[in-house]
Symmetry: C2
Subunit: 340 residues, 2 copies
Amino acid sequence: MKQLAPALLSALILLSSVMPAAGKDLPVPPTVSPALAAMMAKGLPSGWNEAPHTKEAWKDWIDAMTAMQCRNLPALREKLGVTMRSSVMANVPVFLLEPEAPEADRILLHFHGGGYVLGPGEAGTQEAVLMAGLGGFKVISVDYRMAPDFPYPAAIDDAMAVYRELLSSTPAENIGVFGTSTGGAMTLILALRARDEGLPLPAALAAGTPWAEMGKKGDSYFANEGVDNVLVSYDGWLAGAAELYAGEHDMDDPYLSPVNGDVKGFPPTLLTSGTRDLFLSNTVRMHLKLRQAGVPADLIVFEGLSHAQYHMDEDMPETRFHFEELGRFFRRHLGRSSAK
Amino acid sequence: MKQLAPALLSALILLSSVMPAAGKDLPVPPTVSPALAAMMAKGLPSGWNEAPHTKEAWKDWIDAMTAMQCRNLPALREKLGVTMRSSVMANVPVFLLEPEAPEADRILLHFHGGGYVLGPGEAGTQEAVLMAGLGGFKVISVDYRMAPDFPYPAAIDDAMAVYRELLSSTPAENIGVFGTSTGGAMTLILALRARDEGLPLPAALAAGTPWAEMGKKGDSYFANEGVDNVLVSYDGWLAGAAELYAGEHDMDDPYLSPVNGDVKGFPPTLLTSGTRDLFLSNTVRMHLKLRQAGVPADLIVFEGLSHAQYHMDEDMPETRFHFEELGRFFRRHLGRSSAK
């Protein structure tokens, strides 16, 4: 027994250091689509647990991810019958995504995800392409500035600039705003800032698994660590990205963590997450906060889904349902005061 | 190293046998109320992992649980200003719970939880007291027959008998139905059976963390094993109770697992769960199924909450919000075609 004690200790130390990293050994449930089951069976993405240590290393990593993200976009647009053109609004580059027969007059503003570091240029347009192609709306996807070169508030300043410019041509009741992860947070922060700056609010918001709490606060940051096979853990590149973007600013500031904002008077909001999502708590806390403020807020949680997996395979039934649901949601809430 | 190997193996075996049982070592997050934080910090309930092996042992365990469940009920009714009287409807014993100034004309039918084995008599009325006291409705709580003496379909037959009898005095548009866990499942099954038997459907349903899939199918049965500190695991008394009630019947039958039912035409339905709930998948799968059938279905997921903890402490802010939300929900949907 004397020999067992230190060995047991080693084993415990080994396990406790490996467990969260290696992922929890969970079966793939029979209660998801075959496409999602395949996604759930995938191993953890390489590099999830290392944040680059220098600005140059960040840029190299971002470049590699960007190349990967861009690879299938032309084929995806072609498949879904979506055209893309580049433009500039209020000095901010944007992409205009348009399906064959878009909703008339109504338009969606899109902010891509990526922790305020990933998804520059075309790389950030995938979700916008899906929304245009599967949801039937014209989409403006904003290529906002990001860290490490441009920390807070560059990204949200760009978002606001584009929104302001859009308001000069389109009434707020015809504008919906959406995005996932960081883009979901920006969707919510845009509404906070619009209210604070005396602008009319968009007619509806769809925040997919929003980064509503920038710091590591919330149950699913811990409970779904190693369960989520996309983000895996807060303590990888995500923590590094948060620091890069926030810089000296307090991460509890509602303009960084919108779950701390005053959401009274927000328009109808749809939130989406998954049972394995590292941001499940971010999503449900934001949802509850909205409902407690009397905002008509809807929540959808997909069985078995990790972070943002609803926009990673355009043929997956969960993806189809998600974007169709977003389409129904925006059709219901946009253009309500315009003549029909 | 030769000595380490078997020791390591022992440690691993020890850990793997202990891990799901002992609960996952998760911190209590700062993102819940102090009352919920205290509930989250509690150890696992004794006996969660042992199903009684004989009918007598089941009855002894049920009796012990019943005594515990009844202990605080008179004080709770007094505190919330709720009166209770016993009655019989269609040969089924019921309890009538009434707050001081209930909604006029409208009434809620309640089915308690407890795996079709727990909560006989007054022991099953706690949630109904909270709904009457905090939600402001008159509630009929049904003391349906249960296993081991009365397996399927006794419980749901009693539920249907009371609903049928209630319809003879109250129009369906003034009736809401609610319940938690097994009671949430019965709420959904009642609607399935009412439709199948040609009865008018209730005006609204609230299914709290429903036992929508009776067998161990669904992601959170595994992912939240040892995370949920109320049910802890399917493989304890719950699996035993499922077998007791289902008997020879196929657990996939929609009258046992309503997630397999055809829910087209269901009335507005509100579903509630928590991020740590063993029945999170049951809840979100049912919610998605309803939405895919075009039913106006709402979902609320509480941060950090294990199974059904929203009805265990009447002063907890999450509890207050839950029953107030249920009150708002039923006020919105009941009595819509009656004169105001």
